[in-house]
Amino acid sequence: MTFEQVKKALSAAARRAGLKEYEIYWESEENLSVETLKDTVSAFSSGNARGVCFRCIADGHMGVASGELMTDDALEELVRRAVSNARAIDTDDKPILFAGSPHYEQVTSPEPVLADPAALRHLALDLQKATYAQSDKVGDGTQSYTVSTVCETGLYNSNGLSLTRKIGGSGALVFAIVRQGDEARDASYALPGSAMEELAELPRIAVSRALDQFGAVPVKSGKYDVVFSGEVFREFLATFSPVFSAKQAQLGLSLLAGKEGSAIAAPCVSLIDDPMRAGSPMQTAFDGEGVATSRRAVVENGVLNTLLYDLTTAARAGRESTGNGHRGGYASPVTISPYHFSLAAGADRQEDLFAAAPDGIYLTKCKGFHAGANPVTGDFSIDSEGFRIRDGKRAEPIRGFTVAGNFFDLLKSVERVGNTILWQFSTGLTAFGSPDLLVRGVSVAGE
C-alpha cells in the first residue's frame, strides 16, 4: 500500500469508528550499507521498511497505535487499538491535533536520492585501500563502511493538515586499528558524502588519530585548564540537550526550569537550533506535529532565550510551540528535540586556545555518556582521552582518566570559543555541532 492508500483505508476505518479527530503519520525508509574487512566487502545490506502511526482523540484523550502490517484488516485493528488505548490515559492536557501553520519555509537542499549499490561498494573498497595505504601499522580489524538512506514522511490529519517530506543522505566511516609491538589503538571518523573526492580526508584522519594515541600515558589528578575539542563538546550538547526541553522543565527534571530570560552561561556562549542548516540534507520545514520549524538562538550571549516546546508543553505554558515536537520513527512518541543544534562559533583558532591553556589538557575523546552523565542533575564523570598541552602546544597523548563536573557550571565557565563548528554525521533530523572551546579549572581524575 502507498501512503495515499493507507490514508484512505485508515480514514474510512476512523469514520466507521465514529472518530472526528484523527491523524495518520507514515514513514517509508530505504537504506543501503556496505562493510569491508581486509580487502573485501564483508557485508552488504539493503533495507526497506515502512510503518504507520494512527492517533485519535477518543473520550477526551489521545489514543495511539502503530504498526507495519498494511492489510485492510490490520488497519481496521489499528484504529480499534488506538481508541481502546485512549481510555487508559488520564493526563489533564487537552489533546491537540494541529491544523497547520500559516507559513512553512522552503527546503533548500536538493531532494535526496539513494546511492547506487555498486558505487557504494566501490567507494567502501577504495576507502579501505586508502586506509591501509596510510601506514604499515594499520592492521586486522580495520573496517570502512559506507551508508545511504532516504526516508519519506507523510503527516495528515482530519483538521486539514497534509504535509510530506523526504530526507536522506550518504556517508562513510573508517574504523582504523593500528598496532606497534604489543600496543593496539583504534580511532574512527565519519563524514557525509558519496564520492571519494568528498571523503578523501577520511582515511588519513582516522589513521592519524589512532597513531597519535601510541604511547599514551596516565595523567596526574587535579584541576586543569581544558580545551574541549568540538567533537567532544558536541557529545556534551547531545547528552544534555534534554535540559532545554520544556517538558523536562515542567516536570522539574531540568534545572533550567524558570530560567527563561536569565543568564545561564558565559557571555561567549550562544546555542543555536537550526532546522534549515545550509547544505544539510536533513532540513525540515515542519516538526512531528506539523508545526512550522524555525531557526532560533536558544541561548544568546549567555542568556536563555527560550526552552524548546511542542504543542502540549506550549499549551501548558500558555505560549506557542517552537516547532520542536520530534518523532524519532513512526512508532516513536512525540518528544522534544532540537534539529541542528550547536554552540555558535567564536573567534579563536585552535592554536590560540592552546596558547591560552599553556599547561592544560586537550580533550579529544570522551565515552560512556549514557552511564557517566545525568541530565537531571547536570553531573558528569566521563572516561576520556586526549593530549597534554605544554608551553601552549599539543604534547604527549594521555588516557585512562575521567573529567568530572556539572554541565551547568561548565556552561558558565566557558572562557573562549573556537572559530570552526564540527558537525556530527547524522542520518536523522537531529545533529549536534560545536567548535573547540576553553574551560578553566576542570576536575581530572587520573593517577
Partner: protein
Amino acid sequence: MIAKHILEEVLCRAISTGADFAEIYAENTRNDSVFLTDGKIERVGDNLLSGAGIRAFLGTETVYATTSDLSREGLLKCAGAVAAAVGDLKKTGSVILREKLLPNLHPARIIPSSVDACERADLLRAGCAAAREYDPSISQVSGTLLGVDHTILIANTEGLLVGDRHIRTRMAIQAVASKNGENQSGSCSPGAGCGLEFFDTVAPTDIGREAARIAVVNLNADYCPAGVMTVAIENSFGGVIFHEACGHSLEAASVAIGASQMAGKLGQQIANPKVTAVDDGTIPGAWGSVNIDDEGTPTTRNVLIENGVLKNYMIDRLGSRRMGMQMTGCGRRQNYLFEPTSRMTNTFIENGPDKNEDIIASMESGLYCRNMGGGSVNPLTGAFNFAVTEGYLVRNGKICEAVRGASLVGTGSEILMNIDMVGQNLECGQGMCGAASGSIPTNVGQPLIRVSTITVGGR
C-alpha cells in the same frame, strides 16, 4: 506466519546467484507499554513490528536485505535484492525445509497485550505512588511498564525451520529527589522473560520504593573522592563490570576479526583463579534467556572463563565460519532490521570462595558500590568505564557515608586479574545492551566481589 512452500521458494531465490547459504528471519512483535509521569498515565505505546530479513553467505561475505512486506511478492523481491548483491552466477537448487519443534523453557501465563491498558496502568500507578510516598524530598516520579510479545520464524538452506514465541515484562521506575535547587535521581527496573505474572513475585511498590531510596541516598551524599582505590562491587547489576570489562571482548564479532584484546587467548589464565564466568541463555524465565537465538540455534550454557582460564567465546553463525569453531547459540538482534551477530544473554560471575562479610572487613579503605549504572567498553583495548549509582566509602572494614558521582575506569585484562575476592550471593540484574545488531535484553550478574585496585573517577 509464512507458508513453508513460500519460504522454500524465497530461499531458492536468495541462493540463485551463487551464495552457499541463505536464511530468512521473520517476526511479528507486539510492544505494549504504559508510561506514567507526574502521577498521570501520559501515554500508551502499542506497536506491531512485522517484517523479515534475508541473509546470504558467500564464504564469510554476507549480504542482508530487509522488508516489512511479508507477502510472497514482498519476500521474493527482498530475496532478489540479496541474490543481485551476491553476484551474477546462475545456479538452480532446491531447499526442503523440515520443521523442528523445541520445548519452551520460558512459559508465560499472562500475555501483556491480553490485559487491558487500564489494568496495566494500575500496576504502574501502584509502583510510582510508592516512590512518591517514600520521602518528602521525592519531587518527581516516572515509570514504564513494558510488555513484549515476540514471535519469530527462522528457515535456512540447511533445511532448518523453527519458530519461537517469547514474552517479556519489565517495570522501570525513576525517582527524583530535590533539595535546595539540586536534583538527584534513582532508578529500579527489574524484568523477566515471562508475562504479567512477574508481579506475583516482584511487587510494583517495592520497585518504586527502591528507586526512591537510591535518589534520597544520593541527595544526601557528598561527591566521591577520585583516585586509585580498593573497590567492592555488590551483586546483581554490579555484574555490568564483567559485561563491559570482558563480555564484549569475548564476542566473535570482535574476536574473529582480530579486534579484541581476547583474540588468541584460549587456554590462557586471563583472570584471577577465583573467577568463573558463564553466559547462559537457558535459565528459565530470565530476562536475557531465549529458547533459540535469532539464527535458530538453541541457546546454551557457555562457560567462558573457568578458574581464571579462558575456555570459550560467544560465537554466532558468521563467527563460526570465520573462526572454525562451534556456534554457541548467541546470534541475536533487536529485530528484523538488524543482521544478527554474537551477543550476550545472561552473563555472570559464579559464586566464589569468600564470605561477603569478610570482603568488606578486609578493606582498610575504599569504595563499596551497592548499585551500578550502565557502562561502555572498547573491545580492542579493553578500556571500559561505568557509573556507580549508589556508593559508600569504606573505612576500617566498615561501610560508612554515601558518596555520589563516582565512575570506575580501567581495562578488562587488568581488572580480571585484580578481582581478588569473590563472594557468595550471586544474583542477576536486567539491562538493555546496545551493539551492532541493536538493543537487546541481557542479564548481568555476580556475587559481591572485591577489586584490589581500580581508578575511581570523581572530583
